[in-house]
Symmetry: C2
């Protein structure tokens, strides 16, 4: 990473720290020498390793204000959101998360906070042309989730333009890694390999940009530690089609993922890949995992989970 000790001793508040990406931010933040605070609904029943946990529901704005006044963080890394698989894209909870994010930002600024980094999504972009570029790709969200994230981008971008607070927005593309919800793509592929049950791909040639969640988490920390302003794609910059992805999962599993190619359907968005020049050259972040090594790490984790469960 291109930053050095910018954040040594800085008070950082993290939301969503127990989530799929957030869990990978605490180590890098501590490695930078930050004083790390976490707001979480769940009580901290795990080893806190120097991280200070504060139990609070982010929808309880009065509670957040009282905590913020006590912590007075300089940096805010806001990753919390409702991402219940199969629901979050259309859920009315998105409206609530926009509200709570704005309340959080407002309180943070009023308590003297200096820099906000939030989690956006590739789905804020029009997917009609790839690569998706922060400066030129039209912003055309096609779901309530994406529209809600884009809404926050617009408010926080204009807030920071007034000079009251620094702001960057990490647009996350396609992720995989340990702890992913089992109904999502890579876990389903791993399961198909393990059980040798055939998996139907409706769009085997569909190309997406995948990055290991640990690298996404580390990229968020790099973005927070940098002084880069505005939207930055957090992705690999490389496209991989679904057949190739299944091939790499199979390779990591030491067996094939048995594929059945479904009837070819029209795919309105055959390729979604990120332009990553800002991430590489301005944030100066390079992923630790290649797709191959990242999938090996992920498949190993899943196999350990199943081993532990005795199956």
């Amino acid at each position: 990473m291109g930053f050095t000790d910018l954040m040594t001793g800085a008070r950082v508040l993290v939301t969503g720290a127990t989530g799929f990406v957030g869990r990978h931010t605490l180590g890098p933040l501590q490695a930078l020498g930050c004083e790390v605070h976490v707001i979480s609904r769940r009580p901290a029943n795990h080893d806190s390793r120097g991280v200070r946990y504060h139990e609070c529901d982010l929808h309880n704005h009065a509670g957040v204000a009282s905590l913020m006044g006590a912590i007075r963080p300089e940096h805010l890394l806001h990753l919390a959101w409702d991402v219940t698989p199969g629901e979050y894209i259309t859920s009315l909870e998105n409206l609530r998360w926009v509200q709570s994010t704005l309340a959080l930002a407002h309180i943070f600024v009023e308590c003297g906070g200096r820099r906000i980094v939030g989690a956006g999504t590739a789905a804020e972009y029009s997917w009609h042309k790839s690569p998706c570029d922060e400066a030129t790709t039209p912003l055309v969200p096609d779901s309530l989730y994406a529209g809600s994230k884009l809404a926050l981008w617009h408010v926080l971008d204009r807030l920071s333009a007034q000079g009251s607070v620094g702001f960057a927005w990490g647009r996350v593309f396609f992720m995989f890694g340990p702890h992913e919800a089992p109904e999502r793509l890579v876990p389903v592929m791993v399961d198909a390999a393990r059980r040798q049950q055939s998996l139907t791909l409706r769009h085997p040639t569909q190309v997406r940009d995948y990055l290991h969640a640990a690298d996404v988490g580390a990229a968020f920390v790099a973005l927070l530690a940098s002084d880069v302003q505005g939207a930055v794609n957090l992705a690999s910059g490389e496209g991989t089609d679904l057949s190739a992805l299944a091939g790499l999962v199979g390779e990591a599993a030491g067996t094939e993922v048995p594929l059945e190619l479904g009837p070819t359907l029209d795919d309105p968005h055959p390729v979604v890949v990120a332009e990553v020049t800002r991430l590489r050259e301005e944030v100066r972040f390079t992923p630790r995992f290649s797709l191959r090594s990242g999938l090996r790490d992920t498949v190993d984790w899943w196999f350990r989970q199943h081993g532990n469960a005795g199956t």
Copy 2:
């Protein structure tokens, strides 16, 4: 107006009904035969003329929920916002209004509401090219106020795309009329005419699209009564430069507005005019006032105010 009796008997909830535009919506709504409910912070100390007033702060979401459950409106016309002159463009209150608007929309949908119409702004558009067209002009807000309005557009547009509620968004251009804040453009011109004190125009050739607030109010009601979805510019479609505007104010005042032309400054946005085809052909709305007759109405009102005040 192009609609007939679509809304007879419909329960309509109006916010911002005591404001500059909102005050012009109640008459047209009653003329349509609607059951009109108003949420307002201020107690109703005026003639209610069949309008049902409910005292509640829109930032008190629990209070709003309880009222909404009692009223169960079918239509929501949401015009309330903090528009304190000189402050509202950059105020952090914009964050609070985004939150309260989303809370209001969420509660409305949960209580069975069918159609939302909200107030957007010309400032959501890029002003680099005119006319501003709903379908093709890039959305590039240049202030926290505009970014906050655009944020709501994105969330509510995607919410309505899910089919749970109808939604239209009236993008308001430049307004004038009775009750405008005295520090705003037309009142300042009227005052200059009345006192025969010279007014300095820095951009005398700057072209904008002006509409009388009573027509903007009536256009909002027409939009609510229509089944048009999405963004609709509420404007005249005609551009007028500042010198010509001052000329018309002087004509209405029966004297000249003494102008001093300031040093010509670079004007990044010399022309901002709306494309109004959607308003005319889909909403089928035609303004009642021309610019000339609207300014006459406005100047008469200001002169009556000053007469009443004994100056």
